[in-house]
Symmetry: none
């Protein structure tokens, strides 16, 4: 399954109202479309704009509404932190604050090489939870709390703006839902609410304690003293955001007896695949940008196909080109990926081409438009679609499906599904 991140688009006026995918020369995708089946897919639900994390949860067959509470767990999984269901994970930034805790730089001068700082922070002992703190890329890191009765229902400590004071973490709870709606008993509703509040309060105490003690360690750390002497902003505070609870996901193998592997550069995509129990293959030269080494990724994916029944090859650069409004770069990457796709036509029986979400070059961010999908292989009921594109796929034989349907459909074509009923 080739996943082209953000490749789908809207008609572009300066391209005579065609989309980059419609205008690009992509003989291999069109060859597959002509001999396969196409359709439209709402990755989450019609009109709902997917994030990268929720989109890939859905593409792997999970209901994002049931499994997603925040980005933290997927970021942490992508950073190779071992996670257990019920852990709470946060995205973290090394930041610079002054003596009054006013944020001077949310990225501490885009600091690099924070591993030593993170190792110092990880020594913090909290009462009631263990913690993992790991540097990822540049000023970024992840915090994972492991313990009983934790909650993701807490606010960010990150004020998301320079010049504002860091925020104390607080419980993020609403009064219980009105009885008679989703939760039919008052008793259950109130009990659930009390438990949620208790868990949120515990998590808040842990996080505020963590923040204070991390600051104490950082402000006196030799590495920061050095930075100050050099005139660089010290990394003296950890801003937390995107808290989420690690969901209990049945792996791809548990659901379909499918051994899967994933070739991707984006840490978030790797994280989702890892939580789905897939092998995650690191490829030197895979950057997640338009300059990524497609050749190296294709080779890694072909090699993975020798030992895995199902391989995801994820290409991120479309999304970046769209965020930059760079339609030329987007078309070029489509053509390069199409050329690469040729290597797979003889290498595997079943090929799916999917897009995780639309990122129009005119809008420069994700939108909720449905995306085109394509499946080619033995047993597939072909249709009249001749080219792979947003509008041509709308007339395809798959009709319009949801993102979470795609994996069961593929598993069924692989002969991997079990009967529901008898």
């Amino acid at each position: 399954m080739l996943i082209c991140d953000g490749m789908a688009d809207r008609p572009v006026p300066k391209l005579a109202n065609r989309t980059p995918l419609e205008i690009a020369k992509k003989p291999n995708m069109d060859w597959l479309a002509k001999r396969g089946i196409c359709g439209l897919m709402d990755t989450i639900a019609p009109g709902v704009t997917p994030g990268s994390d929720t989109a890939h949860l859905a593409l792997l067959g999970y209901d994002p509404f049931e499994t997603y509470t925040g980005r933290g767990p997927f970021e942490a999984a992508g950073a190779n932190v071992e996670l257990q269901a019920g852990d709470v994970a946060f995205r973290a930034n090394y930041a610079t604050v002054d003596g009054a805790f006013i944020v001077k730089d949310r990225r501490a001068g885009r600091i690099h090489g924070t591993e030593e700082l993170s190792a110092a922070i990880e020594k913090i002992k909290l009462r009631g939870a263990q913690l993992v703190f790991r540097s990822t890329i540049s000023h970024r890191a992840v915090l994972v709390l492991h313990g009983k009765g934790l909650s993701h229902e807490v606010t960010d400590s990150d004020p998301h703006e320079v010049g504002r004071k860091v925020l104390g973490v607080r419980p993020l709870l609403h009064p219980p839902e009105r009885p008679g709606l989703a939760f039919p008993t008052i008793a259950g509703g109130i009990r659930r609410y009390v438990v949620r509040r208790r868990r949120a309060s515990k998590t808040v105490r842990l996080l505020n304690d963590f923040s204070r003690r991390a600051h104490d360690i950082l402000k006196n750390h030799p590495l920061n003293q050095e930075r100050i002497q050099k005139g660089l902003p010290p990394a003296n505070y950890i801003l937390l955001r995107g808290g989420g609870i690690v969901p209990q996901l049945k792996t791809l193998y548990e659901r379909f007896k499918i051994r899967g592997a994933c070739v991707a550069a984006a840490a978030l995509v790797k994280g989702v695949c890892k939580l789905a129990g897939m092998s995650v293959i690191d490829v030197p030269g895979a950057t997640g940008s338009v300059d990524t080494d497609l050749n190296a990724k294709a080779k890694a994916a072909l090699r993975a196909l020798e030992t895995h029944e199902f391989v995801i090859l994820h290409v991120k650069g479309f999304d970046e080109a769209s965020h930059d409004g760079n339609v030329g770069a987007k078309i070029q990457l489509i053509e390069r990926v199409d050329t690469m796709l040729n290597k797979f036509i003889d290498a595997t029986d079943l090929i799916a081409v999917a897009v995780d979400h639309t990122t129009p070059v005119s809008v420069r961010r994700h939108t909720g438009d449905p995306v085109p999908i394509l499946i080619f292989g033995p047993g597939v009921r072909t249709d009249e679609v001749k080219t792979y594109g947003e509008r041509s796929a709308a007339g395809g034989g798959m009709g319009r499906i949801l993102g979470k349907n795609l994996m069961p459909i593929i598993a069924d074509l692989m002969g991997k599904t079990e009967m529901f009923g008898a």
Copy 2:
């Protein structure tokens, strides 16, 4: 509504990549398709392989995920056992065991005429539940427990293999869901879990008691002594499997004020229709195979239409031909059923042709591919589809619907639905 069990297929290489339905001469289905509306239907959900029971629950408008826990109740209803919501029903086999309870023959030499044995077994009195035990076809029977606080969450006593010891029934329960997912509080989860465990334990006690006492009755029964003398394997043990709880189903009449009847040979289909409150019409000569007496079934259905507003005519043989990989027999049956269909064109206003699931002759078992559906009659919004087939229907005016949507759509065309809202 004509239900063609397992008629849908995948493109068959040796038929020039056409399906049996695409290649068969079926002027009546095509006539209806041209003048009606077609579409694709995921009987359960996209990519999910339906069983016969779950598929027919969905075709009658029930959500199988909400109403299905196991095959037993539908088998029992098909055997004319009166059922109440909350009863627990099992499929049962008369089997042969030796003195060490090792299974020698799971079908007791495919014994026939077990009614006398079943009558003896039905006299067993259990503490805490009443029981019904009824022979069905050949070595098969059903066991129904009626009482308070019963559970289907128990294991089979059937080891499903010759040469293994019969199994003691045990509770089939997993620990409560980990906090943080769908059920965020341990409190609710544990209470539910405790109740489930208690019910499962009670049911386990009843079933193991039943198994022991049934064995005592059977091993000494004159009919078995006679079999032993004749060198036949005695039917001296009852193997239980497929336990399910009888769901609380609103009947077709309660939901739509529709008086329905069903003409079918398959006991499971009859059972689902009976639980939906439909009249079930037995037709001599209806076998559930390709040799079924279609003429007799059509006559019975036409007669039923005089007294019922809605009649299901179910033909099972397609599925059998597909399980045997017999594409010729499948095509022939399609053509015979098409000829039969002609009788209905003048006899009723509204005709639906449906398939419960795909059974590709190449795969020889059910798969999760969507099936083609067709509705013909006054008020139907026609489309451009000219023939009835898996691929042609994909371009139809109904788009892609779920199995549970079909019955409300038919009821609506019959003018039988009530407004939701005001």
